[in-house]
Symmetry: C2
Subunit: 203 residues, 2 copies
């Protein structure tokens, strides 16, 4: 009975994510989204609502994928938890540069652009930051259980510190600070964790 859609909702959202990440919220017009997704303006409105609704949906889509990725990178057995943390900290340095299209973290970008005056976006962004911090804290706890990190350390503070560092590296990388400096800073931060003698003598 009904005419079927000719587009895949997921694909459209991913294109919209790229567009918003490239141009920001205020800098992206509906025509841009229309061009990026291949959908006409009418179809966009019919299927996704107005510009702000599209934006929130793309933000949700990004968060969904980002959290999947963060889980993949940090969840795992206790005995390699410290290695996962190490890799994650270092990866932050090259995140912007490795990324195919040189985007940084979308949540970070929009925390600064619309975090103040867009309550819906703020909620989504706070959600992803909180969850990433939680995943990091879990990974720290795993490393503590395995005896690689001081069991008396404040895992929550360490998680927040690592997350903060990663977001900051996005900013500096976008600002033009070189990868060498960021790599050295990341390694410095890792060495500053309360690593146990057991880990240091082994590593």
């Amino acid at each position: 009975m009904p005419r079927p859609r000719t587009f895949d909702e997921q694909t459209v959202l991913e294109a919209a994510v790229r567009q918003f990440r490239a141009s920001g919220y205020a800098g992206t017009s509906l025509d841009d989204i229309s061009a990026a997704t291949g959908l006409g303006r009418g179809s966009l409105y019919a299927s996704f609502g107005d510009k702000h609704t599209v934006f929130i949906k793309t933000l949700h889509e990004y968060v969904r994928q980002a959290l999947i990725q963060t889980h993949e990178e940090l969840d795992g057995p206790d005995d390699t938890a410290i290695d996962r943390l190490h890799a994650w900290i270092l990866s932050g340095a090259g995140f912007v540069l490795r990324d195919d299209e040189r985007f940084g973290c979308m949540a970070g970008k929009f925390a600064l652009e619309v975090g103040d005056h867009d309550a819906q976006a703020h909620d989504v962004i706070l959600g992803v930051f909180s969850e990433q911090q939680r995943i990091l804290t879990d990974c720290v706890a795993a490393a503590q259980r395995h005896g690689d990190l001081d069991p008396g350390a404040n895992g929550c503070a360490i998680g927040c510190m690592i997350l903060s560092l990663n977001r900051g590296m996005d900013v500096l990388a976008k600002g033009g600070i070189g990868q060498d400096a960021l790599d050295a800073a990341a390694e410095q931060a890792f060495q500053g964790l309360p690593l146990t003698d057991a880990y240091r003598s082994r590593g």
Copy 2:
């Protein structure tokens, strides 16, 4: 002979800085700037050029003031260098919240918004980040001279790490992460510096 200006260039630039920080580049119209500064559009064009020129000038103005402030906070005698570093790291946590108008670092904001496709802005931003990193590195060196930090440590990496952490805290604070968590993360980062036994036993 000529009719004198009724505005102070500095004051106008400061108002423009506030406006751009509040709304971003794409989100700020010339009417917004006109309203914020009290100048008509004609005066703006005659005195400051077009929108992008105004923006670059405001960015320069911000950078000028930010670097003055960073010098004030970090320059000083060797024996209190470690305390200045400590205070600076902790202050990053409350930067956004302490700030009267809850802005974060302007350079960080625009590194993410226009860093990719605005070469002039990129240069200014890279300049302030590089200089802040240098000031931090100098302060680290001072603390090393005084025996509070391991003299073998890589001061440049530490400076970059601290700067990265500060920019990241702006992002997380804007994203809604609470000040308590950020304070704890900042203290964690400071304790992770290669502090000497001499400092720890004293402090």
